[in-house]
Structures are given as structure tokens and as C-alpha cells.
Amino acid sequence: MSKYGKRRLKIVFQPVEGKAVPMRAGEVLRITQLGNGQCVDFNCFNLHDYKEMLSVGFTRMHSFRPKQGDFLWSNPPRNNPMMAILEMPPTCLTDTLHARCNAYLFEDYYGFPLHTNCQDTFAAAIGEYRLTPDDVHDSFNIWMDTGWDDQGTTYIRRISGRKGDFVDMMAMMDVLAVPILCGSGDVQPTAAFFPKPVQVEVFESSAATRRKAAEWNARLKLSNNRTVEQFAVKEILATRELKRDPDYKPNFVNYPLQSTTVEVELSEREYGQLQRLRFADYQGDDEIFREAVMRWVFRNRTRRGKLKASSASK
């Protein structure tokens, strides 16, 4: 990536601080380890519409461990790239499984009446913009090495971050970026059992970063990046109690779904092959045939390669 603009912000977060930082498209957030490993949790909002926010779920559909060259995506149906990961060292593993730690979890696990935690740190940080604790969302966890076993049990490995490691993420739209220090680090391997400070910097956009953001946004734009104007219900509720709208009529996509039947003719040999393909013991001949055809389409005619920021930059 070409040079960024000049640095406009430099903060050192002490355990367990965080800050909501407005960023314009093309600006770059740099997060640097000042010790040997501290997990940083990250939330992100569209600066002009807070209902569009980071979707760890949709981001995870692209990669369980977003890394250099990947994007962080907003919630469906917006589906916009919010941040592009420009730089990330191999010692920075990322997590999209563990959501965010919270006070309930530490009370449940350890019996703490109140332990530092990411939910409360995020809430404290975004309160500056009048966002509530309910606006905190599952975080993209930077320098957090997690996995799961065959039984579905998740685990956290010892943090692999090193002093001086840094991660650069470029805003793809105007965002409120919220990096915070994870509050679990003194009782979990997320900071190797001792929380450490982290440096956060923001670099202004340059002609090169603005051009890249515009180019990647254009390449990733699809007709199904929905806007509020396209929503059947647009208004944000001003009350907390949910009430049914008796006049509401749902408009389901392509409903009712139509199907058309064709008659196909197979040779005796092909019919034998069809039987050998059987995917499940309950299947009739038509179900085996259809599944074979659709598996072929999925394998051979869908876009399996994902656009990477690194390849898009070439």
C-alpha cells in the first residue's frame, strides 16, 4: 500500500481503555502492541447511520480468521466493506468466534461481582456518541487465537502477539471505529495473564488510500447492497416495548417459490450411476438427479474466489 496521510491521532490505551474514533473513508487505523501480547476488540459503525455496523457473522462467512487482505463487513442487508486490513503480521491471529466478554461471563466462570470486560468497555467508549450498551455488537478480536473441537467446544490459546506488532486497517466508508483493550487478559490467555497497553494511531487519507477505497468499493458493489430507502420498514423504533402492526403485510422474496418439472431419460448405465451417487438413503431417483445437478453447479459455476484487498491492489 502506498503512503498514508499524516498522523492525526496518537493515543496509548491503558488496560482496559478504549475509544470511539470517527474516521473518514481512506483513513488508516494503526494498532500497535506495546507489550508482548494484548487482545484488542473492535466494533465499527457507519458514521452516518449507526444501524449499519460491523457484522462478525457476515465477516466470518468470508474467513474465520480475517487477515491481511481481508475486509470487515457490515450487517446484511447492507453488506458493505467497512474496513480493509492492509497490514497484519503472522503473529497476529484474529477471532470471530468469541463475540465479546462480559460481566455475566466472569461472574459465571469465576464468581467475580464485577470484572473488567469488553461489553462494558465498549459501552463506556461509545457512550460519547450517545450510543447505548445495546448498540455494542459482537467484536472482531485482534490478537486472539481461538478454535473449536469436534464436540463444538471452543477454546482460547495463548496470545501470539509480540511487542511492536502492528495492524493497519483502512476505513472503506466514514466510520466510528471502536478499538478497545480486552478485559479478560488477567484471567485468560488473551493477554497471557497480564493486561498491557496498546498504541492507537489514525493516519489521514492520502490520494492513494482514497483511490484504493473507491476502487475496492466499486469492485465489491452489488445490486443487493441495500439502503434504508429500500427497506419495507424504515423507521427506527423510539419505544422499547414491541407492538404488532395489524396492517402489516410481509413481502417474502420470490414467494410462492415456483417449480417446473422436466422429464429426463437416462440409459441403463446412467441409471446405475445415479443409484451409486445416492446422497442419502431416503432419496428417490428424482432427488438424486437434482442434487447431482445442483452440486455440479455449486462446484463449477459459482464464484468461489473472494476479492482480496491484497489482490485488488495489484
Binding site: 417459490l257 415456483q258 428424482d286 438427479f289 455440479w296
Partner: protein, 55 residues
């Protein structure tokens, strides 16, 4: 269930949704699967068999 026809050939009635047809009919442009829906799905089925069973 398949219906036996001449010389051991089998006829099968298969339903595809409108969305599945949307994908399958794109194959017409490739000009190797035939132009009719029946031709396309049988062609694709044969290619899948080739990929899976090597036959």
C-alpha cells in the same frame, strides 16, 4: 421412481425451482449443454458423474 422405457432406458420426472432454472439456463450461453432444459440437466448430470465417478 424411474419408469422403464425402450431398451432399458429410464425416464425420471424431476422438479427444479424457478431459481434453480435461473442458474441452469445460463448454461445455454455456453453452447455445450444443448438448448432445451432436459438436455441441459442431463448434460450436467453426465459431467457430475464424470467428476465424481470418473466414468
Amino acid at each position: 421412481m424411474a419408469k422403464a422405457t425402450r431398451k432399458g432406458r429410464r425416464k425420471i420426472k424431476v422438479a427444479f425451482t424457478q431459481q434453480q432454472w435461473e442458474l441452469l439456463e445460463r448454461l445455454k450461453a455456453e453452447k455445450r449443454w444443448g438448448g432445451k432444459r432436459e438436455e441441459i440437466v442431463v448434460g450436467v448430470f453426465r459431467d457430475y458423474v464424470k467428476q465424481e465417478l470418473g466414468e
